[in-house]
């Protein structure tokens, strides 16, 4: 496919390289002629130098017949304008990277809608989600990237027989806003239909708002795991999002930040997190904050070297598990040798997202359900005239092993019921077994039928 990448900084260049390796035709735009030339020499891409927000430059880069335009420069505003223009000029999908959370909030103004951009991505938010996924119990992941944080997916292990076990799901009267997604039983992953029963030993994924999920969990009498102590070093955007998504009964969180003003902000915005003003580079400070007794120590300051050092110190002090945000690919090798358990690279996180956007037809984003495989998560545009819009969901002829898990309407997410009907303009989150993906997607395609 044809992809135009705007901005050849660390993120832009690595995404361009990754896309080349996947055999896509890539054009890179950077305002710095030297950078553009270097990218041109080092990668198998076409490079154009000039401002990404200028139509002449975008024209030269060929956005008109591109499948995807990625605005990945260091400027939020520049990215949004460039993506908006690219979309208007004919790019099939346009994605802009933004840093400031305000651009992804629509309560005062809806930037994404106004600018007609397909997605505003926050690298910091994505990195935080990735770190959170590695910190939580295995298999439990948040799908916030789908649903603006309003929807979560959690896994629970059913350990003993309660009143809810062995009863068909349709008879359980679960809260309307929660769906049972998949069930892992005897090594086999399947999508639960209404007649399915949950059995002892199953691992079940639940989709819905966090509070509702907790409610359902209690029906299956899941023991609350022991509270785990998490120390997060670095209260930037990544650290802030990470603390936010982990807050809850399962984690006791300490967030360390060196800037006094930022500490005030964090303390007022994170109600269940202990915010500490100290320097992660000072061993004495780490000792004082009892980093040694932490279950997990996460370093996510903006500096690779500091993150690596802090993790090494924390490990030596006795932290059970360490995780670091490491941007430079050159460090990947050494990090493992130093005994750091988990690393997250914002570049890799964004690369994975980007691949998800390279689809044909109404599919906006697709990804394998992260563990095990066998099930795909698809984010699909609902277009006028698609068969799926013709009936309420109960009467839509979905293939077996297929579930419409959530519907996003105007950026708001809901878990649909049997008598919900998808409308053009909605976005549907669909879970489908590998064999059912094509059948499911057929329902979202018009195949030239009149709309």
């Amino acid at each position: 496919m044809r992809v135009v990448v705007l901005g050849a900084g660390t993120v832009g260049a690595s995404v361009a390289e990754m896309l080349c390796q996947h055999g896509h035709s890539v054009t890179v735009v950077d305002h710095n002629p030297g950078v553009a030339r270097r990218v041109n020499d080092e990668l198998d891409v076409r490079a154009v130098s000039g401002s990404a927000a200028q139509s002449s430059v975008l024209f030269q880069a060929g956005v008109m017949d591109s499948d995807l335009c990625l605005a990945l420069t260091g400027s939020d505003e520049g990215n949004m304008i460039a993506a908006s223009i690219a979309k208007a000029m004919g790019a099939r999908r346009a994605v802009a990277r933004v840093y400031a959370p305000v651009f992804r909030d629509l309560s005062t103004f809806d930037y994404q809608r106004h600018l007609k951009i397909d997605r505003l991505l926050s690298l910091e938010h994505l990195s935080a989600m990735e770190l959170a996924r590695k910190i939580r119990e295995p298999g439990s992941l948040a799908i916030e990237s789908f649903a603006h944080g309003n929807l979560e997916m959690q896994e629970l292990a059913v350990a003993k027989a309660t009143a809810a076990v062995g009863v068909p799901l349709r008879e359980l009267k679960l809260p309307k806003a929660v769906r049972v997604g998949s069930i892992l039983r005897g090594g086999k992953l399947m999508i639960a239909d209404a007649g399915e029963k949950v059995m002892v030993g199953d691992r079940v994924t639940l989709i819905g708002a966090r509070e509702d999920i907790d409610d359902v969990k209690s029906r299956f009498d899941v023991e609350t795991p022991q509270k785990r102590g998490i120390v997060i070093a670095g209260g930037g955007e990544t650290g802030y999002h990470l603390a936010r998504v982990l807050e809850g009964p399962r984690f006791a969180i300490v967030l360390i930040e060196a800037d006094r003003g930022r500490c005030d902000f964090l303390a007022s915005h994170l109600k269940q997190t202990t915010v500490v003003h100290c320097d992660v580079q000072r061993r004495a400070d780490l000792e004082e904050e009892r980093v040694g007794s932490a279950d997990v120590f996460v370093a996510c300051t903006g500096d690779d070297e500091n993150n690596i050092m802090a993790c090494v110190e924390a490990r030596e002090l006795g932290a059970k598990k360490t995780a670091a945000l490491v941007g430079r690919p050159d460090y990947a090798n050494v990090v493992g040798k130093l005994g750091i358990d988990e690393t997250v690279s914002p570049r890799e996180v964004v690369a994975r997202q980007v691949l998800g956007f390279l689809n044909t037809g109404p599919v906006i984003f697709r990804n394998a359900l992260l563990w095990g495989g066998g099930i795909e998560i698809l984010e699909v545009e609902v277009v006028a005239g698609a068969p799926v819009t013709e009936h309420v969901l109960a009467n839509v002829d979905l293939p077996p092993q297929c579930l419409v898990a959530a519907v996003i309407h105007e950026s708001y997410v809901r878990v649909p019921g049997a008598d919900d009907r998808l409308k053009p303009g909605d976005t549907a989150i669909v879970f489908a077994g590998d064999e059912s993906v094509d059948g499911a997607l057929a329902l979202f395609q018009t195949n030239g039928r009149a709309s």
Binding site: D105, F109, H409, E410
Partner: protein, 158 residues
């Protein structure tokens, strides 16, 4: 757009009890609920959305005024209400002043234009000192209703 187009008159409160930001928002959404402006099962979700917006930056725009707002899919038209706090509430306003006048707005996400026009109307009217002063002095919901009507008829010269 006029106040009459979105202010739910039965939900107007002349004497807020709440003494903090969360409390004020809760009390105002409750009054909208009582007046039938929002659905009961959406109550917590609306409050959460309004508080989330506050986290990005206070809607306390200074001079004792705050405009907490959000979009929410559960409403099919603009709904809003007005409340006055005698004591004033710390709302982390730009100017650090306590807030006495609250205009709360909830609007459907697919009508971004109306939402912005309502916010614009509120901010424009509240630039008028006389209007603000009278609102702060109002003793009853009826007083407030009358003031809003007068503002709609441009009687404050805004």
């Amino acid at each position: 757009m006029k106040f009459a187009d979105f202010v739910s008159t039965e939900a107007i409160q002349a004497d807020l009890v709440a003494e903090d930001k969360d409390g004020v928002i809760r009390e105002m959404v409750q009054s909208l609920l009582d007046a039938g402006g929002v659905q009961e099962e959406e109550f917590e979700s609306i409050i959460k959305a309004i508080l989330k917006r506050e986290e990005l930056g206070s809607t306390g725009i200074g001079r004792g005024v705050a405009v907490p707002h959000t979009k929410h899919p559960s409403v099919d038209r603009l709904v809003g209400t007005v409340a006055v706090s005698r004591e004033g509430v710390d709302f982390q306003s730009l100017d650090g002043e306590k807030v006495h006048l609250f205009f709360l707005l909830i609007s459907p996400p697919d009508r971004p234009g109306d939402h912005l026009r309502a916010l614009e109307n509120i901010s424009r009217q509240l630039r008028n000192d006389t209007f603000c002063r009278f609102l702060k002095q109002s003793k009853s919901a009826d007083d407030i209703r009358q003031l809003l009507e007068e503002a709609d008829n441009n009687q404050f010269g805004a």
